[in-house]
Amino acid sequence: MLQLLGFHTALGHTALSAKDVPGIPDGEVRYSTLRRDYLERTNNVDVAASRDISVSVPSNSESSKSSNSVPSCSIPDTGSPREHVSREAGTQSPTDLAVLAAGEALRAAAISAEQIGLVIGDGQTPWQVTPSEGQRVADRLGLKVPAYDLAGGGIAPVQLAMLNRWKPSRLPDYALLITAACPTQRIDSLLGAQKNGALAARAAFFSDSATAAVVSMKHRGVWSVLDGECSLRPSATHPLVIDQFAPIAFSPEPFSHAVEQLCGESAARAIFKNKLHGARVALAMSEAGPGMAERVASGHSIHRWAASFERVGYCFGSSCFVALADLARTSSPGDRVIVTQALPGFTTGFIVLERN
């Protein structure tokens, strides 16, 4: 049975509030990898420009002003220039965030990078299509091991569900799973948008994030992966499109509605298949709007859940891990968590975890 030994989510270094992006509700924060001075100067109108590679090294002092108000997730320590590729925008790349997350996940798993035998990545906003995100992270960690992407559905459900079906002899002692997305880099006119309307909703919806998880079939972890499933629910229209060239195209209401519906269905499937009716089980889901986890949990008699949207917005494959980190702090051996999410496309599914 696959074991989850440690995981960590890293968020972008620039905290944006309602003062910056009027559509963000008062008291909430979104995290961007774009530097504040770059945003104020350009408003990210040219979404490709923030990915330009040039020679200037970002100032560490700017980055270190990031708020640390989300205790369960890491606001990255940007002290080491080596962890940032030099760019005029001072932008953290998805790989930068993934490496930060990986470092913390390895610490949580109490292993070193050299013990990793496989790296599997997933990235919705890569700076390079080739090499893959998994290969870029492995490169930064100095690893000479098989690395590739198993993408489209995040660590949960896709990567965990897949690896849970592997022959134990085929999985190295430790594998590192990665999901990374920096959607604010793909939003033009991020700052100063109207308080209401589609543009405001788009600007206020996302945070940039990466999650890393260390798994093993040979070594006991904090969580056992009891079950997992994933599937494609094709959509005639795509309410969220991350094109290679253009800014993100996004219709918040249909997207949020689809995520809630699909996560609800996945949760129901997890309960039915694993006979969890009436069991002590919690829900960690990728919220794509406020109150979503509570509604899904209530609709399926799940008594505990963790919210993520009001804290960090929508973070693609990291959202459910933001929620899981909250639940993990108060979980006890034997507790079960249904982790579910729906990613654009829609790939959806669930993982059932049990605290060891």
Partner: protein, 360 residues
């Protein structure tokens, strides 16, 4: 990682000095995967980029040089020829608006051929894995687009490493407890790299072609080809040697990649030779379709006769991950029972792998 100072061919001559360490030891064959390939298909666009055209672009190359150095005569592109002449494809975003094909359209055509050969319908497929280094979007993913276009709603994933993907997909599927896999898995590699080539660059323009390959795999249904062995490895510390920038052009360290490709392919072939006692009077070799000159260095080193070396790069160009499976698909009707086919592929990542097949 061990330094390898030169690979000797069977005649004892070195084929080239080492450029850095290679991938260390190749794993010994594991227990035989229980996989079969039931059908294969391919698709290409129809615009032909000739060596003469590349010479006429006046970027410092000649048709003769290209033929002599890389052995490619033509490549098939989704870009109209007059567009290439007019713009040299300086703006990849514009290429999309004029291209005659997308990775999705090529993939769908390749899949239809594979399904027909496997005597299956799209609805029989239980899982889809896709490799695409030129996706239209990352959300929805290319695998989602292709599955939606085919009208199937099964688990779909992008399993991605660019060029060595035939080995990756087969080795990836071999990892699973076979009881957890559906009867039929659709594997696809599709790319339109000519849309991300800078045709002011004399090297890159000569290399790439567009294409899609598809193959149907089963863990339990018999097929024309049985998988005897699969391997996938990587050295990501050298991953920046081959780049496809999102919304940008392809770039590579040509010399380092060329040396790596030849040496690593030779090592992969030697591993299969030793473990499975390959006989090049009967068995077939398919390499990564990067360029013919490199392939001939490999076949020369391993003394593989031309008749047992299948390739298509001379007329289609480097089709990235689709290259090797397309070669196999193009020879599908020529495969005869008892034949073994050794596929050794290398590429971006840097990654490499092999698949040994036996025709039933």
């Amino acid at each position: 990682m061990a330094e390898i100072t030169g690979e000797k061919n069977r005649g004892g001559n070195e084929i080239g000095a080492s450029v850095g360490g290679d991938g260390g030891m190749l794993d010994a064959p594991k227990s035989r995967p229980e996989l079969s390939i039931l059908g294969m298909g391919y698709a290409h666009p129809t615009n032909v980029i000739t060596n003469q055209l590349l010479e006429e672009l006046e970027v410092g190359t000649t048709a003769q040089w290209i033929t002599e150095k890389i052995g490619i005569q033509e490549r098939l592109s989704s870009l109209p020829i007059d567009y290439i002449k007019r713009t040299r494809n300086q703006a990849p975003q514009e290429a999309r608006s004029v291209a005659t094909d997308t990775p999705t359209t090529l993939a769908v055509r390749a899949v239809k051929m594979a399904l027909e050969r496997a005597h299956l319908k799209a609805g029989d497929v239980g899982m889809v894995v896709v490799n695409c280094c030129t996706p239209l979007s990352t959300a929805p993913s290319e695998s989602t687009r292709i599955a939606t276009e085919l009208g199937i709603s099964v688990p779909t994933y992008d399993v991605f490493t660019a060029c060595p993907v035939f080995a990756l997909h087969m080795d990836f599927l071999a990892n699973f407890e076979s009881s957890t896999l559906p009867d039929y898995i659709l594997c696809i590699s599709s790319a339109v790299l000519t849309q991300q080539v800078n045709y002011n660059d004399r090297s890159d323009g000569a290399i790439w072609g567009d294409g899609a390959g598809a193959w149907i795999v089963s863990p339990r249904k018999p097929g024309k080809l049985r998988v005897l062995d699969s391997l996938f490895q990587a050295d990501p510390t050298r991953s920046q040697a081959v780049l496809v920038e999102t919304a940008g052009h392809f770039k590579q360290d040509g010399r380092a990649v060329r040396d790596f490709s030849v040496r690593q392919t030779v090592r992969l072939v030697k591993r299969m030779e030793e473990a499975f006692k390959l006989d090049w009077t009967k068995d077939i070799f398919i390499g990564h379709q990067a360029n013919l000159t490199m392939l001939r260095q490999i076949t020369g080193n391993r003394e593989i006769p031309d008749s047992n070396h299948w390739h298509n790069v001379t007329k289609i160009g480097n089709q990235a991950g689709a290259g090797a499976p397309i070669v196999l698909a193009m020879h599908w009707d020529k495969i005869h029972s008892g034949q073994r086919i050794a596929v050794a592929v290398v590429g971006a990542g840097l990654s490499w792998g092999s698949v040994l097949l036996e025709a039933i």
